[in-house]
């Protein structure tokens, strides 16, 4: 099983990772981060396959992947 770690303070809420995760494991938060933006959250109960698509598309290099 794989997982991702999101730097939520750095996240700009572009939601590209949300759009490209094939497992639908990344969700918009309702809370705001220090920048005043809706960051994203990872559903650690889902089946992350470590495909790295979220990390590859993130313009702000906010995502690390462990596999």
């Amino acid at each position: 099983m794989a997982k991702i770690i999101i730097n939520q303070d750095r996240c700009k809420g572009c939601f590209l990772c949300v759009n490209f995760c094939p497992k639908g494991l990344i969700k918009k938060s309702v809370k705001l981060n220090k920048q005043g933006l809706n960051f994203v959250e990872f559903d650690s109960n889902g089946e992350c396959i470590g495909c790295m698509q979220c990390a590859v598309i993130c313009p702000d290099c906010c995502i690390e992947v462990d596999k």
Partner: protein, 242 residues
């Protein structure tokens, strides 16, 4: 479990000033990863443009110089000729490379300077407020073509990559895109090829990257990527040009 993706040493751990979903952030990371993977961080010199990427040197953990608007390839020529052992590249927008800097671009390519160019085509002048660029598509609305680009008044989208491919000094030109994760990985391979060509003394290499500017396209980040996929790449076909 082991780390399969993380920020590399060539990209400082700093917040970037770009708008949400901006392609510059992805392209910066790709350049950093290529420099890291080729093991050339200590001898790489990047030339930052004028445009939204004017502060690229703050994000890359290797030597950089700034250049006046459009003059990146003139500065790169000088640095490479004085320091031929270093790996020198420019990073330039469409306004920088194909409007104010067209002259420097064409002559550096025509001289076959042994340089690598990362050309960010976002079809607008981002930094100054989304004005029409040479690469703006026909019909595309910008702050200086509010009814859309019109061929009689504004001319046609400039295919500078195809034009440069005619020059004998040019060894490699490829057009890539950032519109999906697989395309981002292809873009990285092309950037790596451009750097390898320089390492092998093959001459002038350029990678044109179709890159989203959600802010001045008036689209959400994902819609911007879809616009590249569905519209922009029809005008600017992807693939190896030379």
């Amino acid at each position: 479990m082991k780390k399969t993706f993380k920020r590399c040493q060539s990209l400082y751990d700093l917040p970037a000033h770009y708008c949400p979903g901006c392609g510059h952030g992805i392209a910066h990371r790709l350049v950093a990863e290529v420099v890291q993977e080729l093991g050339i961080r200590e001898k790489t010199i990047g030339i930052a443009p004028v445009g939204c990427a004017v502060m690229a040197y703050d994000y890359w953990n290797f030597d950089c110089s700034e250049a006046a608007h459009g003059r990146a390839l003139a500065v790169a020529t000088a640095i490479k000729r004085v320091h031929p052992q270093n790996i020198v590249f420019t990073y330039q927008g469409d306004g920088d490379l194909a409007a104010i800097g067209t002259n420097e671009t064409i002559h550096a390519a025509n001289r076959g300077e042994n340089l690598s160019v990362v050309f960010i085509n976002n079809a607008v002048y981002g930094m100054t407020g989304g004005q029409l660029a040479p690469t703006t598509l026909l019909g595309q609305k910008t702050s200086t073509s509010i009814e859309g680009r019109e061929k009689k008044a504004h001319g046609y989208p400039l295919k500078i990559s195809e034009m440069l491919a005619l020059l004998p000094g040019v060894c490699y030109i490829e057009r890539v895109s950032l519109h999906s994760p697989p395309e981002v990985l292809k873009a990285k391979r092309a950037i790596k090829q451009a750097f390898k060509n320089q390492i092998n003394n093959l001459g002038f290499s350029l990678v044109e990257i179709l890159s989203p500017c959600p802010t001045y396209w008036g689209l959400a980040p994902k819609e911007s990527l879809d616009w590249i996929r569905d519209v922009m790449q029809k005008e600017f076909p992807l693939g190896r040009i030379k």
